[in-house]
Symmetry: C2
Subunit: 354 residues, 2 copies
C-alpha cells in the first residue's frame, strides 16, 4: 500500500544508531550475539515506529516467496471449495500463503495461471489439471520439483510428479456394490459427458462391478447429456443437465429401479426432475450420488452418496508439497497417494421391494 512513507529496517537502524544488518538479525531472531541493551532498543524502536517487514525485499533476496500457487477449476464448486479449505488450512499452519486461481476447466487459462504463478516465484504449486492440459504443462509437471497434482491422475503415463488423487475406480465399485446389496439389479447411469479421466474411471468401475456380478450393462441405460461449455458456470450447469437427464429417463418409462449419477450436483438435478414429474425419491426410484458435497446432507431427501475426502486431499497435498519445499536437499522419487472413499448412507437409496 502506497502509504505516506513505509518504515524500513534502515529507518530503525538510523533511529537506534545501529546498522540494517543488526536490525535484521534482531528482528528475525537469528542466532547471533547482540547485546541485550541494543536488542531491546531495536525491538522497542520497531514497535513504536510501527515497523512492518516488506516481504518483497526478503523474497527477492532468497529468490523464493512463501506463497503456494493453487490452480483448480472453480472456487464456486463446493467440491473444490472444500479442497481449497484443506489447502489453506495446511498452508497457514506452516507459514505459507496459498494463491488460488480458477481455471474454469480451460486448458489455456490453466497454463496462463501456471506461468503467472511462476513469475510470482511461488515456492510450490498444487494443481488439479484439466484432462490432458497442454504440452507445455505436461513438460512443466515432469520437470518441476515442487509440484503436486491433485484429484485425478493425468492420462499421460510419462508425467511423473507427486500426486494425491481419489481412487475413483474403487469409489465407483463401492457405490455399485452398495446398490447391488440393496437389491438393485437394474441401474441406470446418468452423466454429463464422460471426458475427464476421473469420469472414465467412475464409469468403468461401475460397468466392471456389474459385470463381476454377472450383469451386463445395457447401453440403453446410459444417459449422457451434453451442454454448451460456454455457459459453464458451476452454478447451475450440471444441475440443469441432471434435470434434463431425469426427463429423458422418465420419457423411457423409468426403466430402472435405481439411478447412479456422475456427481452430487447432477443427482440433485435428477431428484428435482423426478420430484417435479411426481416421482418420489426413493420410494419410486433410488438415486445414488457421488462426491458428498456439503449440501448432499442438507437436501430433501438427504443424498446417499460416495464420500470423497476433499478437505483431506487438500490438506495432504499441501503438507506434502511444503515438506518438499522445506527440504530442498532431499530428493525422493514421486509418490502417489490414493485416497479411499467411504459411503455416506442417507435416504435417497432404498432397498428394492420384492
Amino acid at each position: 500500500m502506497p502509504k505516506k512513507q513505509r518504515i524500513t529496517i534502515t529507518d530503525i537502524a538510523r533511529a537506534t544508531g545501529s546498522s540494517p544488518a543488526t536490525v535484521s538479525r534482531v528482528l528475525n531472531q537469528i542466532d547471533y550475539p547482540v547485546t541485550p541493551a541494543l536488542k531491546n532498543k531495536i525491538l522497542t524502536a520497531a514497535k513504536e515506529l510501527h515497523y512492518t517487514p516488506n516481504m518483497l525485499g526478503r523474497m527477492l533476496k532468497s529468490g523464493v516467496s512463501n506463497d503456494i500457487g493453487v490452480v483448480v477449476p472453480s472456487l464456486q464448486n463446493p467440491f473444490y471449495a472444500e479442497t481449497v479449505a484443506g489447502i489453506e488450512r495446511a498452508c497457514r499452519q506452516r507459514g505459507y500463503s496459498p494463491i488460488f486461481c480458477s481455471s474454469e476447466n480451460k486448458p489455456d487459462k490453466e497454463w496462463e495461471y501456471v506461468e503467472l504463478l511462476r513469475q510470482k516465484c511461488v515456492a510450490g504449486l498444487i494443481i488439479s489439471a484439466v484432462n490432458e492440459g497442454n504440452d507445455d504443462l505436461l513438460q512443466f509437471l515432469s520437470e518441476e520439483r515442487n509440484v503436486v497434482l491433485i484429484e485425478q491422475p493425468l492420462q499421460n503415463p510419462l508425467c511423473d510428479c507427486d500426486m494425491v488423487v481419489f481412487d475413483y475406480y474403487a469409489a465407483s465399485e463401492m457405490a455399485t456394490q452398495y446398490l447391488l446389496r440393496k437389491g438393485h439389479t437394474d441401474i441406470a447411469y446418468l452423466s454429463t459427458p464422460i471426458t475427464r479421466r476421473s469420469r472414465q474411471l467412475r464409469y468403468s468401475g461401475f460397468c466392471d462391478t456389474l459385470a463381476g456380478a454377472g450383469i451386463t450393462f445395457d447401453e440403453s441405460r446410459l444417459y449422457v447429456k451434453s451442454a454448451d461449455l460456454d455457459t459453464y458456470s458451476d452454478g447451475l450447469y450440471e444441475f440443469n443437465a441432471g434435470r434434463a437427464l431425469a426427463e429423458d429417463f422418465l420419457r423411457d418409462k423409468c426403466p430402472a429401479t435405481a439411478v447412479f449419477a456422475i456427481n452430487d450436483i447432477v443427482a440433485l438435478g435428477v431428484i428435482s426432475g423426478f420430484t417435479e414429474a411426481g416421482f418420489r425419491v426413493p420410494q419410486d426410484v433410488s438415486v445414488m450420488g457421488f462426491d458428498d458435497i456439503n449440501f448432499s446432507a442438507m437436501c430433501t431427501p438427504p443424498l446417499t452418496t460416495i464420500r470423497q475426502p476433499s478437505f483431506t486431499m487438500g490438506k495432504i497435498a499441501a503438507d506434502l508439497l511444503i515438506d518438499k519445499v522445506d527440504n530442498p536437499d532431499r530428493n525422493d522419487s514421486s509418490t502417489c497417494t490414493l485416497l479411499k472413499p467411504t459411503i455416506a448412507e442417507r435416504s435417497s437409496v432404498q432397498t428394492v421391494q420384492p
Copy 2:
C-alpha cells in the same frame, strides 16, 4: 520455484551484448527509441532462453505488487464463494491477482491477515469485516486509502472508507412484505444469534415492516439458537442450527403459518427438520430464505428467498478498488454503494389457505 537457474534480464543483456536497461525497455514496450535490429535480437533471445520476468524485482522497485488482498469469513460458504468469484473475475480482467484469506469470522485472524497482506505490499484490500473487528482494524480502515469494505457496513460511524454493501434492511422489508402479500400474518423468525450488523438490520427490517402493517411481533415467535463457535465450519453448523430451530418451533405446536429464516442454510436446516417430523413445506408451513445461494434453486422444494447479488458485489468492489489503485492522484471522498435485493420466487412459500 528454485529451478536449476532462472533466466534474468541480465542474462539476456549478456547474450545480446546489450544492457539490462535496454532489455527492460524492450520487454516492457516502453516508449523509448531502440533500433529495430537490437529490439528483435532481444526479443528472440528472450524467447529462446525462455525468459520469465521476476515479479519480485519489479515490485520491489515500484514498492507495490499487483495483488489485491481479500479477507472474507469463509471460502466454503457459497455466499462468499460467489462474491469471491466476482472479485477474481474483475481482478484478472484488469491484470491484478486476488489473494484470498478466510478469517473464519474471528477478529484476531482477520487482523492477522490484514497485516500479512500489508507485508506482501498488496495494491489494495477488500474486506468483509467481522462485526466490529478490532481497534487496529478500525483505525486501519479509516487511514488507508486503497480499501473497500463489502457486504455490511460497520457499526462504528467514524469509519469512513469505500463500501459496497447490501441493503439488508430493504431486503428484509421486501421479504416480509412478500409474506404478508401471500396472506401470512403469523410469521416466526428463526435465526442463529443476531450479532453481526447485517443480522440486526435484517431483524429490524422484519419487525418494522410487520409494525407498519399493524402487526406487533410477538417475541415468543423469535427463535434463536446459539451454538459453539469453536465448532464453526461453514459446512453444517448453520444447517444444524436450523434443524434445532425447527424442533423448537414444532415443540411449540407450529405457532405460525410461515417461517422467515435468517439465511438459506438455516432455511435448509429448518426444512430438513420439518420434513423429518412429517411436516410438509409449503403445505403445512411456508419457509422463506435469505441470500439465494446456488443450492436454494437445487433443493426440494426449491427455496423462495431474497436474492443478494453477491457475484456483482464482488465485481463492483474489485472494480472500484482497482480504479483507485490505478489513479493514485485522484482523491475523491468515500462512496457507499448500496446493492438492491430482488426476490427469488420459488416453491417454499404458499399463499395461506383461508
